[in-house]
Amino acid sequence: MAEPGHNSTPHLELINEGIDRIKWVDRHSPVLNGLVRKSVNDGSLKGVRIAVVVHLEAKTAFLASILADAGAEVIVAGSNPLTTNASVVEALRERGMTVVSEADGDISSWEQELLAAADHKPEYIIDDGAELTMRIGMHRPELFKTIKGVSEETTTGTARLYAMEAAGLLPFPALTANDARCKHLFDNRYGTGQTTMQAVLRLTNRRVAGANIAVIGYGYVGRGIAEYAKKMGAQVCVCETDPVRALEAHFDGMIVGKSVDVVCNASIVITATGGMRAIGQHEIDVLNHDVVLANAGHHDLEVDVATLADIADTITDKGSQITTYNVAGRDIHVLSGGALVNIAGGSGHPVEIMDLTFAVQGLGAHHLVNAQMQPGVHILPKHIDDSIAAAKLHSMGIQLDHPRPEQEDDFKEWLKGMQTT
């Protein structure tokens, strides 16, 4: 698609569309607008260079705007080439923010964009999949000296940061936003669960009730998808390599089995492992004709589209983000090129869920700037996590009890007794 000329009507329309999208987020973000603005506007972010590297759509843009409003110098990049929204990019540029990403890129243009973000020498990074942190380590190692902290969004990125720490390659503090309860309990489970089902159904116009749906991976994301699919009437099968989680899936009423035993009956397969090649050659061999494959995990290769492309007799674009690989007479339909289906093929997470997630990220960045933290991976302090949930409940007019002294266990009393005997 040709770039609309600067200040041409299409360009202005694009900017306005982006502004409208961001306004819609503003309207449904009570925690970011209340608690988070109040905290970050204390002056501590003035002039601080923060790179925001998350799927570049309206919610991310709103977080970037809040940090910029607090005086930070914000550099914005997308965390996946397939999820950057052109109108949002233009709207952010219009308000004077540095945006290094363009929509409709590919892996190589995206990697260049990340390096461009690195070259702005961010002091702090709000990262997704540790994509920027990892690349700075690989391609701009000297910049590690100037990085003062990273706050990470996802399960995949958290695993990468722990791996860097274990290898002695993490010279700055990193917060795993993902490990905050206000993130993974809501974003991963409800947010990804709801919107993954939405995107699959929107792209395919298929029905859930009575369908056989396989979910690969039973972490928070897989659990959310499985739960929503089941409640909407699907027969849900789950594969999970962690025995405790697999048992949990069984107790949740899911049919649990090995991937090849599970996917061979499925009409829709959704991957949620956060790893790679969850649907690889072994699984492809047993897939049904007309099966739909969608990915809800961080990696574009969680459904091994590279292998599919290698072994397919024909590859057809069916429009609306559906690619059909014909393998030995069977049509295998992959949604959104194997990228995160709810973002690449939908509008991403619900606004209110990202209000919580980005509150974790915003307050996390503020915490990194203000607390004296040692290098290594850290979890957001519980009182900050709690304050986010409290602010959200308050915005909905929901009040809570406080524990009364007489409701507490009397352990102080009997501990005293144990010490005196």
Binding site: Q198, R202, M232, S320
Partner: protein, 384 residues
């Protein structure tokens, strides 16, 4: 306004996209394919002219194409807001006439009245082409034929009607002894009630609202008005996704059923103050009144899942102090007291006007029912 061949490159690009959607749906419609094979072999459709008045989407397109393959002449007409223009262009390219008003509607600033006039014109165009059978929706075209096209009406071999709204109108005509053609009531079939309404519409209405708003439903207060087969499906899908569901229903037995199904049954007036999202699913005119709107909280989201605008208090909305499009298919009406109301899909039925309609596998059975009805009308059910 008549059906026309594609005249621009843009139309052809749109037709390509529409064709892909039609091709995507086809293998998921095995029941229709089987029924078509039988009907085609019988030769009963040869030379018959079928007027399809259903929302124009990929499923309807597959019905139109199998009818054409079976030897029928096929013309399509749907109200502008229920027409997917990509699909319409793809059908036109296959030689099927598609009468629609959408071509004339350049933006959503058209008033209801203008749009209505154009939709009437597209219906007139269809009737002028003298169909033998009408597959109607909301009984719009049958009623128009009865009123303004007596000759066309008299030579109809029959018609099918798919919606409750349409059946209600036709019952009135029938009582007045003004419906002297055979009419197959598809609304009352179990396939329609159980599968299309409860499962198909339930799923697609809730999903369309979420797609359009990008909001979360877990923990939201949802008011479903009407607990017929559509309302039941919306309530169950919303609740499945974690919503707190209240149901308003005037039929006491259905209201009690809602309460026993685990929802709160209340009057609209009592439920309105806590409603964050409202779905109307009555299929009846005047479901929401200006008084109900007064009771609703600031920022309430309103969607029709029934017959669309007639369910909505459109007059009072038109009097809003400020009307602004805030997002695709979402209009914010602000009243002089500062209160905002978000109307989805301009008050039209949300899953059809702003989504892709019922899921393909479910539409498959409904389209097969249309074929079975035609066979019935053209053999033993036909007028002498």
């Amino acid at each position: 306004m008549t059906s026309h061949p594609l005249h621009s490159a843009r139309d052809n690009t749109m037709a390509d996209a529409g064709q892909k959607r039609i091709d995507w749906a086809r293998p998921l419609m095995p029941v229709l394919a089987d029924a078509a094979k039988t009907l085609s072999a019988s030769g009963i459709l040869n030379g018959r002219h079928i007027g399809i008045c259903l929302p124009i989407d990929a499923k309807t397109a597959n019905l139109a194409l199998v009818l054409a393959d079976a030897g029928a002449k096929v013309s399509c007409r749907a109200p502008g807001h229920y027409t997917n223009m990509e699909i319409a262009h793809a059908l036109r390219r296959k030689g099927i006439s598609v009468y629609t008003a959408t071509d004339e509607i350049s933006d959503n600033t058209n008033t209801h009245i203008q749009e209505f006039k154009n939709d009437i014109e597209s219906a007139r165009a269809l009737l002028t082409s003298t169909p033998d059978i009408l597959l109607d929706y909301d009984a719009e075209v049958i009623c128009l034929a009865r009123a303004d096209f007596p000759d066309v009406f008299a030579r109809l071999k029959g018609a099918t009607e798919s919606t409750k709204t349409g059946i209600d109108k036709l019952h009135d005509l029938s009582k007045a002894k003004a419906l002297d053609i055979p009419l197959v009531n598809l609304d009352d079939t179990r396939l329609n009630r159980i599968f299309n309404n409860t499962i198909g519409t339930g799923q697609s209405v809730v999903m369309a609202m979420l797609d359009l708003t990008n909001l979360q439903i877990a923990g939201r207060s949802v008011l479903v008005i009407g607990y017929g087969s559509v309302g039941k499906g919306i309530a169950s899908h919303a609740a499945a996704l974690g919503a707190l569901v209240t149901v308003a229903e005037i039929d006491p037995v259905k209201a009690m059923q809602a309460q026993y199904d685990g929802y709160l049954a209340k009057s609209i007036t009592d439920a309105a103050p806590a409603a964050e999202v409202v779905f109307t699913a009555t299929g009846s005119k005047g479901t929401l009144t200006p008084d109900h709107l007064t009771e609703m909280p600031d920022g309430v989201i309103i969607c029709s899942a029934g017959c669309g605008r007639p369910e909505m208090p459109m007059e009072i909305l038109q009097q809003a102090a400020n009307k602004e499009s805030v997002r695709a298919h979402i209009t914010n009406y602000q009243f002089s007291n500062g209160k905002n109301l978000l109307l989805i899909a301009d008050g039209h039925n949300v899953n059809t006007a702003a989504g892709e309609g019922s899921p393909i596998e479910i539409a498959d059975k409904l389209m097969a029912l249309q074929l079975a009805s035609m066979e019935f009308l053209l053999s033993d059910g036909s007028k002498q």
